[in-house]
């Protein structure tokens, strides 16, 4: 270990997150590998190590003998400061080698607030921030993840973007890069060739042209640019790589458990949900594969908790079978099984009762809106009756805490909808009074609201966000209407949501803002410890831009959107149709009841239907 590092580690919080050396970490001999990649996660170790995507790609890339993929996380403030003071460059956990010496840096971007951290990591690695300033072929700096399904805000900094799932795409990029490096290509020559790989978005091949009013006139394709770049998917999950010997952290992380992935995509089609559209089409793993992978992972890690992961796990068709198979292994070994995303229906509750035999802490539901009308607007297909019925089963079954998640500022929301949230919480409380067998223990009902953020590639991508003042007014209205002592109300800050909304639908000029914010000290902005609203306003002002233009302005349906060159699989006409149906509070059936021909199944091989 580096002597300078040895000296600072004892002085920082939780040093074990900066050392590597965990069980199942992949170590290779530098002399045996032909290409070294730094998998960079622009957040803390605790967050990054809890990310399934990161774990899949880490294993998948390392499965190629001549590639060595190592992990890099963003150091917490105290460590970042100490490293800068001691001139220690950003290093990878496995080898301890400086990231700047790697062949490839791949950033995994899951959320917009991580953008400035990417710049900070590049800077700590000693690399120029902008793709254009990195003239040499090596190192290649690219990004993937849902945080770039609007690639434009980060476009100035990335050599290329990998759209969609990375299991195959990343390897194709790395193989081409290896050839380019071995044959001594120029960076330009490599990038032009890479742009031919389906799923690769090359920012330098599209030139944003703006109208006088600041809106986009077009994303002008330059020679060699594909009309649109279509995201990549893994076609057959049963045959896809899955990490069954994942790294076991030696220190606490956010979700320290074995992840068992059931399926990708979501059948529900909630209209506010980016993931619900961006992860289509629906592809399921077979119960046999899931059970085998789950047991393997538990054996290889010694974890005592496994979770069945998916966007909406209770929608997995053969969930009962999977649970039986896993419980048979888990129960005698005191390994607990959990379902993170629950629907408020009887089936899910029965399942929860089976899974959580001992610990009955809190249950979480996300009705998202307080009235049936607004739930219909967003296509959240849950009725009050279903929700209350589920709560009744939960209370009768011994649960005494329920968390309810809502959004404020959804399209068409009225004060009645806001007050409806308080009324719904009251009804949940009444249900508890009526049905709980042990009232002496009391009940905790928590209502949380966040501010709706319109996201690219969702039917609400054209919607304005409500202003911060309006959001605050609705928070106040709701607060005044929640009177019961057993109901606790938490709300998200208006300012973080506003900035997130501005970044999320930003164009390439927002990249300049991100850089300005970083120059003013922004990093780790997803953390309230670090988020600084005034700094963001100053950064927008530095570039002569107004965040409200991006956040609270309704986009014309014919307006050119910054992500218009990206095809996530779902047709724009379908998104528009869903938007219009929302205004009529008209539900759309889920994919299983009736396929609405969204276009995503065209990503599958001919003849293969969604939900395998």
């Amino acid at each position: 270990m580096d002597k300078r590092l040895r000296r600072i580690l004892p002085t920082v919080q939780k040093p074990a997150r900066y050392t590597g050396g965990e069980y199942n970490e992949i170590i290779k001999d530098k002399r045996d590998v032909r290409l070294r990649m730094a998998f960079c996660f622009p957040d803390t170790y605790e967050i990054g190590m809890s990310n399934l995507g990161m774990r899949i790609l880490y294993g998948c890339i390392n499965a190629v003998p001549e590639f060595w993929c190592e992990r890099v996380f963003a150091p917490w403030g105290d460590m970042a400061e100490a490293m800068r003071r001691e001139n220690i460059p950003l290093y990878a956990l496995e080898s301890g080698d400086p990231v700047g010496e790697f062949d490839v840096l791949g950033f995994s971007l899951g959320y917009e607030m991580a953008y400035p951290t990417v710049l900070d990591m590049l800077d700590m690695a000693g690399l120029p921030l902008r793709s254009a300033e990195r003239r040499e072929l090596v190192p290649l700096v690219f990004a993937g993840g849902t945080g770039i399904c609007n690639p434009e805000p980060m476009a100035p900094f990335m050599d290329l973007m990998a759209l969609g799932e990375g299991e195959e795409l990343d390897l194709e990029i790395l193989r081409l890069f290896q050839r380019a490096r071995d044959e001594g290509w120029t960076k330009r020559a490599f990038l032009l060739e890479a742009a031919k790989i389906p799923g690769v978005y090359l920012p330098s091949l599209y030139e944003p042209v703006y109208n006088a009013d600041g809106t986009l006139a077009e994303m002008k394709p330059l020679p060699g640019a594909p009309e649109r770049v279509t995201k990549r998917i893994v076609e057959d999950l049963d045959r896809a790589y899955y990490p069954t010997a994942p790294i076991v952290p030696s220190t606490e992380i956010v979700h320290d458990r074995v992840n068992v992935e059931l399926f990708r995509g979501c059948v529900r089609g909630c209209r506010f949900c980016q993931a619900g559209y961006a992860y289509r089409p629906i592809r399921a793993r077979s119960p046999e594969t899931i059970i085998a992978q789950g047991i393997e992972s538990i054996k290889n890690t010694g974890c005592q908790e496994a979770t069945l992961l998916s966007l909406s796990s209770s929608d997995y068709r053969r969930l009962g079978e999977v649970c039986d198979g896993l419980l048979e292994y888990c129960e005698p070994r005191s390994v607990s099984l959990s379902l993170p995303s629950l629907r408020a229906d009887n089936f899910s509750m029965e399942l929860m009762s089976r899974l959580q035999k001992v610990r009955r802490g809190g249950l979480t539901f996300a009705p998202e809106a307080g009235t049936q009308r607004l739930r219909d607007v967003i296509n959240k297909n849950v009725t009050e009756e279903e929700l209350l019925n589920t709560c009744r089963i939960a209370f009768e079954g011994g649960w005494n805490g329920i968390k309810l998640y809502f959004m404020l500022g959804l399209p068409t929301e009225t004060d009645e909808d806001v007050v409806g949230i308080a009324e719904l919480a009251d009804k949940v409380l009444h249900t508890w009074r009526k049905y709980s067998p042990h009232k002496q223990r009391g009940v905790r009902i928590t209502v949380s609201t966040s501010c709706f953020i319109p996201k690219p590639h969702s039917p609400f991508q054209w919607e304005p966000q409500v202003t911060m003042d309006e959001y605050r007014r609705r928070v106040k209205l709701l607060r005044e209407n929640i009177r019961a002592r057993n109901v606790q109300y938490n709300w998200h800050d208006a300012d973080t949501s506003f900035i997130e909304a501005a970044l999320s639908r930003g164009d390439r000029r927002v990249g300049e803002v991100i850089e300005a914010a970083w120059r003013r000290g922004a990093r780790m902005e997803a953390w309230s410890d670090y988020f600084d609203f005034k700094r963001w306003l100053a950064a927008f002002a530095d570039r002569g831009l107004d965040p409200a233009f991006y956040a609270t302005r309704e986009r014309g349906e014919d307006e050119c959107l910054p992500w218009s060159r990206v095809n996530m699989g779902v047709k724009t006409e379908l998104l528009l149709r869903e938007r219009h149906r929302a205004y009529e509070a008209r539900l759309s059936p889920d994919c299983r009841v009736q396929c609405s021909a969204c276009g995503a199944s065209e990503l599958l091989p001919k003849g293969v239907r969604c939900d395998g």
Partner: protein, 217 residues
């Protein structure tokens, strides 16, 4: 066979695993190795594992002791290797046995420190002289606030030798009543002889002893 004791090393990267995290790490090592650990009864069962003398983060050790319980007979001779095969880097199990003595009988700790001086080490004799002072009161912060600990009598049998980048020091400190963290030896230099204060110091535990200076196992 029910109560067992393991002696193990914690060094290199593993030195940064905190005491609480270590209990968790070790529990998973046992699970991966298939050791039949005994769990506590009750609502939230946890493995019955205890580390005899908790080690500070960043400090290495070649003499850690850990007590645990099993539900059936196991092969003690092969256990350390089975555990090592599924352990993170820097954690190495040495030997497993049925303990004859209680951890409360631990009284002394032999340890080794490397005092690093970036601009040349002081004379060894100056250090030796310092640590043989009749009184070495060190101010230290504990959970109960600030207090003064008298090092003289609680740190003894010093030996020094020149080492790369500084001076290697060996000494025996009281491990219980009072528990003297070897780092206090550097605090003492800072407070009482700043001209001898190193730029950095790292520590390693070598061996535990009882009150009669018999190695504790």
């Amino acid at each position: 066979m029910d109560k067992l004791r393991l002696r193990f090393e914690k060094s290199g990267k593993a030195a940064y695993i905190s005491h609480l995290d270590l209990l968790h790490v070790v529990q998973r090592v046992f699970l991966r190795a298939g050791t039949p650990l005994k769990y506590s009864e009750g609502f939230n069962p946890h493995a019955i594992i205890s580390i005899c003398v908790p080690l500070s983060v960043g400090m290495e050790s070649v003499c850690e002791l850990m007590d645990f319980r099993v539900t059936r007979e196991i092969d003690l001779a092969s256990l350390p290797e089975e555990l090592n095969a599924v352990s993170p880097e820097g954690l190495r199990f040495l030997v497993c046995y049925e303990p004859a003595r209680k951890a409360a009988e631990i009284k002394w700790l032999r340890c080794e420190g490397l005092l690093e001086y970036d601009n040349g080490a002081p004379d060894i004799s100056a250090l030796a002289e310092f640590y043989s002072r009749e009184s070495l009161p060190v101010l230290r912060r504990t959970k109960r606030g600030e207090g003064v600990l008298e090092l003289a009598g609680n740190a003894r049998d010093f030996a020094f030798e020149p080492a790369e980048g500084g001076v290697r020091l060996r000494c025996t400190v009281s491990a219980a009543e009072p528990a003297v963290n070897p780092e206090l030896l550097v605090r003492a230099l800072e407070q009482l002889a700043p001209e001898l204060k190193p730029d950095f110091a790292s520590w390693k535990r070598l061996e535990f002893y009882d009150k009669d200076m018999t190695a504790f196992r």
